[in-house]
């Protein structure tokens, strides 16, 4: 089986500042991989570099195809759905329009309609808010909408950038349960960036630990979970 996503020597810059140093990353199909590390470790940058949203070098490939020089739009259309930091809500559009936007990119409208029903299955609240301006949704609902938009793209891989950010613990738990179900039932693999390491370790089967733009260690999440020294020095618990 070819791996879903591969990055070799991935580096990234913000202006003159280098944020990633020769990162190697492999994501297998079907799994959930977590990127952990402190603030400024390069987690968000890694996601942005995969989607070509920052200046970067190194090679990335998706399902065996080189995507290093593809545009963000093309990478998305190939099946990489990025749920961005800050949720990326289209605040002036209605909830429905936020979701329906995916019809613009998808050829198979019947499949897109099925995915819309799927989104409502996972997030019934979005159906209730269908005609509401998306900017009026609560933070948790906007996070659900962001995941819903990603699902609408019929992705093979979801990149999730801190889905727990700024949300109440109860809402976070609900969202992570839904993410697990999506991963299990929809054959969507995930690469998740989280500050809340315990939460991410629980969901993920594989972990990369970053520090100042470099990989410190990687392996099955059980390994990190059980390594107290590692946890204490890098994850702070």
């Amino acid at each position: 089986m070819t791996s879903l996503l591969k990055a070799n020597g991935l580096s990234a810059w913000y202006g003159p500042i280098r944020a990633l140093y020769d990162l190697d990353l492999v994501i297998e199909q079907g799994g959930v991989t977590a990127l952990l590390g402190a603030n400024g470790a390069g987690k968000t940058t890694t996601l942005r570099a995969i989607c070509n949203m920052v200046r970067r070098s190194g090679t990335t490939s998706f399902l065996g195809r080189d995507i290093s020089r593809r545009s963000t739009e093309d990478i998305v259309r190939m099946g990489v759905a990025h749920v961005p930091e800050g949720r990326g809500t289209f605040v002036a559009l209605t909830v429905e329009e936020n979701l329906r936007l995916a019809f613009h990119t998808r050829r198979d409208h019947a499949a897109a309609r099925r995915d819309m029903d799927l989104v409502f299955d996972y997030f019934p609240i979005l159906k209730e808010r269908l005609h509401q301006q998306a900017g009026t949704l609560s933070g948790g609902e906007q996070q659900m909408l962001a995941i819903g938009r990603a699902l609408m793209l019929g992705p093979k891989l979801m990149l999730l950038d801190e889905p727990s950010f700024g949300l109440a613990p109860l809402v976070v738990r609900e969202i992570f349960q839904i993410l697990r179900r999506i991963n299990e039932h929809e054959q969507v693999s995930m690469l998740i960036v989280e500050q809340n390491a315990a939460l991410a370790l629980d969901l993920a089967d594989h972990v990369y630990l970053l520090e100042t733009g470099k990989v410190v260690t990687s392996g099955p999440s059980a390994l990190v979970r059980n390594d107290e020294a590692l946890r204490k020095s890098y994850l702070g618990y």
Binding site: L101, T105, G135
Partner: protein
């Protein structure tokens, strides 16, 4: 009373033209979040192209259609060639580019076709509609074309996914890219549509005010006022605003302040709206929760 009705009808006609100009402004605002100050001069230039085609012997409607197409392509090209490199430039740089475009179009039109005014044919007969001197077929035609255009645009933005993608691209370009929307093409499309609408406005107004390189200068201010009154993010509001400004301008002009201060009146409207109701009469206030 009859004088009032006449002025009212005349106001509706100029209002229709302001509405077209406002629609062009809204189009670019909705798809790029910018105000295109060159909108009027682009319309003027397109009208000269139509004039040249008709002068060369093409039938009116053929020239009309070709002009709309050429204007669309021109607007598209302006975005691709001039504005795309400025995508990440500060807003002020863009404003300066728009003003540069304005004076370039004005000067080039003057250079090619000279500054002497020209007559431009109207597709509608100037004959009286009911025989009572109130409304002419010409006036009705201008209003009708505006309303049809509004209908088409509204339907486009509301019911097509392409229209939705354009709105999304304008609101949040990064997030739109993450939904697979090719943002820079959407912007070019917005410019193309705006230029096409402008061309129609130019061809509607030219038979009334005569064709010369400065014909749109004042009209742009009225169009701008109309767009602001109605809410600059909303095509329907812009058209309503255009009509309101047209009628007010005529009535206030004939009863209160006289013709000389009409343009000042438009500016007062602009400032008044910006001060009192920045979202416009029909604009939606965008609620943002963090």
């Amino acid at each position: 009373m009859e004088f009032f009705l006449q002025q009212f009808a005349a106001g509706l006609t100029s209002g229709a033209i302001y509405a077209c100009v406002a629609l062009g402004l809204v189009m670019i605002y909705v798809s790029t979040d910018h105000i295109n100050f060159a909108q009027g001069e682009m319309a003027m230039f397109a009208t000269y192209l139509a004039w040249a085609m008709i002068d060369a012997g093409l039938p009116y409607w053929v020239a009309f259609g070709l002009t709309v197409l050429v204007a669309f392509a021109g607007g598209f090209a302006i975005q691709r060639v001039i504005l795309k490199p400025l995508e990440r430039a500060p807003v002020l740089a863009l404003v300066v580019s728009f003003i540069a475009l304005l004076s370039i179009f004005n000067a080039v039109a003057g250079m090619i076709w000279s500054y002497t005014i020209k007559q431009f044919p109207s597709p509608f007969p100037s004959r009286d509609l009911f025989g009572n001197g109130l409304v002419s077929v010409q006036q009705l035609g201008v209003v009708g074309v505006t309303l049809v255009m509004l209908g088409l645009l509204t339907a486009f933005f509301r019911f097509t996914t392409l229209g939705l993608a354009m709105r999304a691209a304008a609101q949040n370009a990064d997030s739109a890219r993450l939904m697979g929307v090719r943002v820079s093409w959407m912007l070019a499309l917005g410019w193309g549509l705006a230029a096409a609408i402008g061309a129609i406005a130019g061809m509607l107004v030219a038979p009334i005010v005569f064709l010369d390189p400065n014909m749109m200068t004042g009209i742009l201010v009225y169009g701008f006022a109309g767009a602001l009154v109605g809410g600059i993010g909303n095509p329907m509001g812009a058209v309503a605003g255009g009509f309101i400004v047209g009628v007010l301008e005529n009535l206030v002009g004939s009863y209160v302040i006289g013709n000389e201060l009409k343009l000042t009146f438009a500016l007062i409207i602009v400032i008044g709206v910006l001060l009192l109701k920045p979202a416009g009469l029909f604009g939606r206030v965008i609620v943002k929760r963090v």
